[in-house]
Amino acid sequence: MRALRALLVRVHGLFSQSRRDRDFAEELEAHLQAHVDDGLRAGMSPVQARRAALLKLGAVEPLKEDHRDRRGLPMVETLLSDLRHAQRSLRRNPGSTAVAALSLALGIGVNLTLFTAVDSLLLQRPTVRDSARLVGVEPGSGDEFSYANFRDLENSGIFADVVGSNVTRLNLRSGDDVEVVMGLIVTANFFQTLGVTTRLGRIFTASEAAPERDPRLAVLSHAFWMRRFQGDISLLGKSIDLNGERFLVLGVLPQNHHAVTAFISPDLYVPVSEALAPNMNSREGGLGVSVLARLRENGTIAQAQAAVTAFGQELERIYPGPNEGLGRPAKVFSMQGTHLRGAPPGMFLFGGLLAGLCGLVLLIACANVAGLLLARAAVRQRELAVRVALGASRGRLIQSLLTESLLLALLGAGTGLLLALRLAPALSVVSLPGLAPVQIDLQPDFNLYAYGVVLALLTGLICGILPALRATGPDAGAEIQGAGRGSTGRLRMRNVFVVGQVAASAALLVVSSLFLRSLVHQATADAGFDVEHGLVAQFRLEPNRYSKERTILFAQQVVDRLMTIPGARAAAVASIVPFSGDTMATRLQLEVEGKPVTGGQRTFLNHVGPDYFKTLAIPLLRGREFQTGDRTGSPLVAIVNQAFANEYFPDGDALGRHVGYRGQPPLEIVGIVKDAKYGVGNGNAQTVLYVPWAQLPAAATEARPLVVHLRLEGTPAAALQSVRRAITELDKAVAVVVNTLEKATSFDLSVRRAGSVLLGMLGGLGLLLAMIGLYGVMSYAVASRTTEFGIRLALGATSRQLLVAVLADGVRLVVIGVALGIALSLMASPPLAAFLAGLSPADPLAFGGTALILLLVGACASYLPARRATQIDPMAALRRE
């Protein structure tokens, strides 16, 4: 306590040093007088008395100095004086300060923006109580438990608590408006067990949400409440219409709530009920739930894993049909990793790539600042020499120079933060245009600010340390003697910086042009189906109103209706749309002629109706299309594409052979179609298995949105409205999204385009910063060689010769940098092949283009300083000596 008080007094002492100095001097003077008076009283002469008193008092100045230091905090005082000094020095050169700070602002800004994205996607843990003992549980047969099995797991006592959830798209209706929202169907105990609290209203408790009570309750996410209801408080206690049922809104979650489904932010939470999942209790394809559980006291993950596996074996024994594979080893994993499950493939690689490139941009910016500081140190050489002469230590000088670079870095980081705050919301707008927008929350928070400060300190050190060491180093004295002329050593160091910058920006540009090239490559590639004349309608039928039979009937009605639209050539049902984002190739556990296929590549599975191939204009090579006769009860059939036939039936005809998947009974192959692409791949032919839509198990019709394709004579855009009307006339409660096939299939490319734009911007930024560095170093070189150029001009050199000489210097730096950068990129680019869809990571056009751009821009950046060299007045230059 006392120490704290003393510290506070000393902090206060910082602000009134001069008054206190006077005060202490007076006190000492009084002390001296009292001593002299004593001496006089003892009979000394005034001179003797004063002499004795002075002797006793000792050296006064060190005493005062010491007193002064003890009154305040000397460390803080030097820091403050360094700061004042740095601020003056920065303001004296507003131009170069602005360039340096802006360079850093851009470099730090992109890093902070990336950090926000990474932070909200990867670093934020879900908002749950006691997450240390919380684990994710997956059965041996897949990633979800059926709800019936979940109930058994709950009763098994393996875990202290078990909760389940299922991401489902729901139709939110108000009046005639239907909107698809992202719902999380949760088990009744979900909120209470996870310890989730609300910002407004309340959560639903396990007892009131028990499925037996057929609960119709909802809790909204903050973002959804703001977006859809404009933060209307009166919504609490009212009902909203979900899938045609009324749901009572109980509460709104806090703004900083992080959902357990990391990559999807659910709009609202509803308890499990028959209303949303009609046959949820059925063991055959009931509701599937992802399971989180809390370990028992002293329980370990290994024990839980063994117990869940045994539990699965037991269930598989009792209900062998629906639980096939449940007895395989279960997965129990700590929550630490759970929230990263379900990450889109390639995301980590792309994220790592982005982080690396952002780091490169920052390094380029740092080199700029370091170059400027080096130049400034040259100007300040005399000042530094004076300070050394007055007794300043090297450490003290370095501290003072570093303060300046740190101040600069803080300035840059502050501006960069403002930049990031503007950019981050722009990122969060990137929602995936599917049936329902998948919202990813991006919010700047404390972590961002902390990261910004760390970045600023780091960059300040990185930028400042080399120039500071150099300016105060042993050979600094030698430079003082030649003060005014640029030293070749300093210039050499700046040259190294510029070569590094050019190399780094070459790497940046190579990566971004590789992406751009692969984008063009894909956009122009033939997909294998008719994109131009197609329309596609996607909608979800509410499972509580649509049984399997009704769904099939409704789909047939839609197809018939669409065929009455003028210009319609063909229409068909399907389950996936090529290149549409939620179209993914999966491992299907294929069986060929009853034998399981080991390995095998990922396959697209599409459930299609009659006339599908005619509608998409995919040529039928052999056999037949699906017909209305391929329905439940009729022989099970399949159609495969050429790539599939070549892959799994290399020895002969696939027609008439049998294939099975995911433990389903074998299907007879009745047709082979030409290859059509479904996704952006790595260039290999994609295998596709087509199954009649009408032969699907009931559960599968519920799980997927319905897709209806239509091919028209002319341009399809004109028919958009009539297609929408045709479907809503059949059922106005259907939330239908109609697009041209061109737009619907552009999703995959649009994601890549966004990625390429991002990389292109980083590349451009790196280029800009490197060119600022080059310009700076060339200007500096020209300025410090003024005398030399003056002499050369006086001796008869033409300005053209000087121009060429300076330009050559600049271009030489760029050439070295480009060569280095390209060599490095060639070594580092092979892992990029995964993104390039068949394009070689050593694509000559990307590399050659990069080199050309850098050389051109580099020559431009050197041109201005070179011209300045030619405009030197020889007389003036010589007179400077």
Binding site: R5, A6, E27, Q33, A34, D37, G58, D66
Partner: protein, 112 residues
């Protein structure tokens, strides 16, 4: 024994506080003289340590200072004990007594 010794580190603060307790408000010179006299002139108070010690005590809130007028009508800065200072004198004196008592057990021959 006639040689004067410097004040030991750590004991000066207690001497200052005790002096102020017995003598009331006092200026720096007065405190120094009093300490030297009390010690029978065996101690020499170095002013280079006296004023920093006074400053530290003031920063810690054990003493307070204000300008006043001395006996011979001169301006001088007077230090006085605060309430916290009074408590501190008691506490420090007790601790010091304990310390010396323990030490003396080591230094005097054991009787048992």
């Amino acid at each position: 024994m006639g040689k004067q010794a410097d004040v030991w580190q750590g004991t000066l603060a207690l001497m200052i506080l005790k002096t102020l307790e017995t003598m009331g408000p006092q200026h720096g010179y007065g405190i120094a003289r009093r300490i030297e006299q009390t010690s029978g002139n065996k101690l020499l108070v170095n002013y280079g340590t006296l004023y920093p010690a006074l400053l530290k005590l003031e920063q810690e809130g054990y003493v307070a200072s204000e300008w006043g007028v001395s006996d011979n009508n001169r301006r001088a800065k007077y230090y006085r004990l605060t309430r916290a200072g009074r408590k501190q004198v008691e506490r420090a004196a007790r601790e010091w007594e304990q310390t010396t008592e323990i030490l003396s057990r080591f230094l005097t021959p054991d009787e048992a």
